[in-house]
Amino acid sequence: MAVREPTLDTRTPVAPETGVAAGAAIRQSSLWQDAWRRYVRNRGALAAAVVFVLIVLYSFLIPGFWIVPGIWTDLIHDIDPYGVDFSQAYQGASLAHPFGTDQFGRDLFARAALGGQVSIGIGFAATLVILVVAIVYGGIAGFAGGALDNVLMRFLDALYGLPFLPFAIITLQIVGTVNFMTMVLALSVVSWFTDARVVRGQVITLKENDYVRAARAVGARWYRVLGRHILPNTLGILIISMFLSLPGVVLGEAFISFIGLGINPPDASWGAMANDGRDAYRTHPLVLAVPSLFIAALVLCANFIADGLRDALDPRTRET
């Protein structure tokens, strides 16, 4: 585990750049500024971030703004993603329907955006839940140490035996209904184990650092040590693991919806849309290809972003 700079506090100067003429102001740069500069230098990661943002913008702007329905609809693409029109079924790509239409004549350009809202929304919500659970569980285990750590980690070992998909499906069955929130719950219940381990490892490494000992020595309470000195320093690794977890969650949602146990029509997610396109792939490949390629693009970008962030936030682990 790499040892990190003492603090991520932006007010603390980190190694001023050398070679500055005497008398001139020394340019200070924080760890985050450094990281940003390193990230931007990485072309692949930068491109991935741009594409990622574009996909998110597309999803949330095309079928009307999500929080306030309809606010953008008239401006950008005035087609209802739920609008059934059998006379328009299975249209190819055209100006009126950039991605064509599905078997009910619903416009896929609008529907893919709607599905994107659900898939990306579920992805990020589940990732956040995973991170919170991981921070609490891993933080307690790593910070407390000793017997409690041992018990928590052995329990985690046992949880590793849980098969992902069956458990997510059972969770959905327990809740009884499938919607946005229950999908988030089902996907996060089975995905927080690795992140909890990562947090624990990081906390244990940080705990032994001199500045933490110093904080203890001057009498800081445990919650201050944890909240001020340890958890902020796990932030970098958490941001990375957020983008590492996202692909798994997005694909998990797609799988569950694809086999028909997840998001159901008329609601859309990319997985549910792929399920719609399954039967007619020979004659109308667009219905399956559009959501699948969106999933692939999102996952690809998330992986590149995670790699870029890792290089940017922790240069020592950089690959050749």
Binding site: F155, D157, A158, L159, Y160, G161, L162, P163, F164, L165, P166, F167, I169, I170, T171, Q173, I174, G176, T194, P247, L251, G252, A254, F255, F258, I259, G260, L261, G271, A274, R278, Y281, R282, P285, L288, A289, S292, L293, I295, A296, A297, V299, L300, N303, F304, E319, T320
Partner: protein
């Protein structure tokens, strides 16, 4: 080493008990009754008889004890929906197909992913390296239902090389052409993962001091790679395969659906829809046991490959 192996094996028992308890506890929370789906009202006495047959009239901890006893004697109980069918029969009939599918998929992964990763690491930043990593990134990102459909479209519909779906009934039939597409579609993800992992691990190993020493004392490059680099860089690959087995199981659900393979994943989906709790529970427990055993094997292998873990763990 023997103590390490024995400790590790004994440790799986509480893990299994806990996992079964979790599955069992969760299943108890599911609402709905598998016996009340008919139009006619089931008479009270029949209802009670059914509950007695499945021990549903006992307190939950006793049910758990019965269930654990049954699981450890390899008896997953009767199906709640299908008369005269036991979960064991269903598992026996369908599980081997899923197992074979997963095995073949991992075979593809090792057959192509491993050499590709090694070759890419030996010539970093070469054209081959870029190509392999691009391929790996794409294979990693494409959802396998799309890969499967593309394969069917190009190799079965357009060109008629292989049938679009189906699966040999005989478990030991490894030459049937219908095996190729499903296992490749499922294995692509694994292949991409292995290639990336091997490449990263090898590049890291090649920077170690002992590799430089080996080179400095004049060993041929081939020998350095085989003896010093490969052996050490394959260790993380072995560890990564354990958790991956869970993901392969996840993939079989989708692939079985697309290729009409009579595997256990497809049966699981049907059982969930029919609220056949004993079948759902049985298959989940089975999948959990497979994952636990896979992790056990990986850990033991790891102990053999890397003596350091033995000391830390035991």
């Amino acid at each position: 080493m023997a103590t390490y192996v024995i400790r590790r094996i004994i440790w799986t028992i509480p893990v299994m008990l806990l996992v079964i308890l979790l599955v069992f506890g969760l299943m108890k929370q599911i609402g709905g009754n598998p016996f009340r789906q008919t139009e006619r009202a089931v008479p009270q006495s029949i209802q009670e008889n059914l509950e007695r047959k499945f021990n549903l009239n006992e307190p939950w901890y006793l049910q758990y004890v019965y269930y654990v006893k049954d699981v450890f004697t390899f008896d997953l109980g009767p199906s709640m929906r299908l008369r005269n069918r036991t979960v064991n029969e269903i598992v026996k009939e369908h599980f081997p197909h899923s197992f074979k599918l997963a095995l073949l998929a991992m075979g593809w992964g090792l057959l192509i992913g491993l050499p590709a990763g090694i070759a890419a690491a030996l010539r970093p930043n070469s054209l081959f390296d870029y190509g392999a990593m691009l391929f790996s990134n794409i294979g990693f990102a494409l959802p396998n239902f799309f890969v499967a459909t593309l394969l069917i479209y190009y190799f079965a519909v357009r060109n008629d090389f292989v049938p679009t779906s189906g699966w040999p009934a005989d478990f030991w039939d490894f030459t049937d052409e219908r095996l190729i597409l499903p296992s490749f579609a499922l294995g692509l993800f694994f292949m991409a993962y292995v290639a990336r992992l091997v490449r990263g691990s090898m590049l890291e190993t090649m920077q170690q001091d002992y590799v430089r020493t080996a080179k400095a004392k004049g060993l041929r490059w081939r020998r350095v790679v085989v003896r010093h680099v490969l052996r050490n860089s394959l260790i993380p690959v072995v560890t990564a395969i354990g958790p991956l087995i869970g993901l392969v199981i996840t993939g079989t659900f989708v692939i079985e659906l697309i290729f009409s393979i009579p595997g256990i994943g497809r049966y699981f989906v049907d059982a969930v829809a029919a609220r056949d709790f004993s079948v759902v529970m049985g298959i989940t427990v089975l999948a959990a046991v497979v994952v636990i055993i896979a992790n056990l094997v990986v850990d033991i292998l790891y102990g053999f490959l890397d003596p350091r873990t033995r000391e830390v763990r035991s």
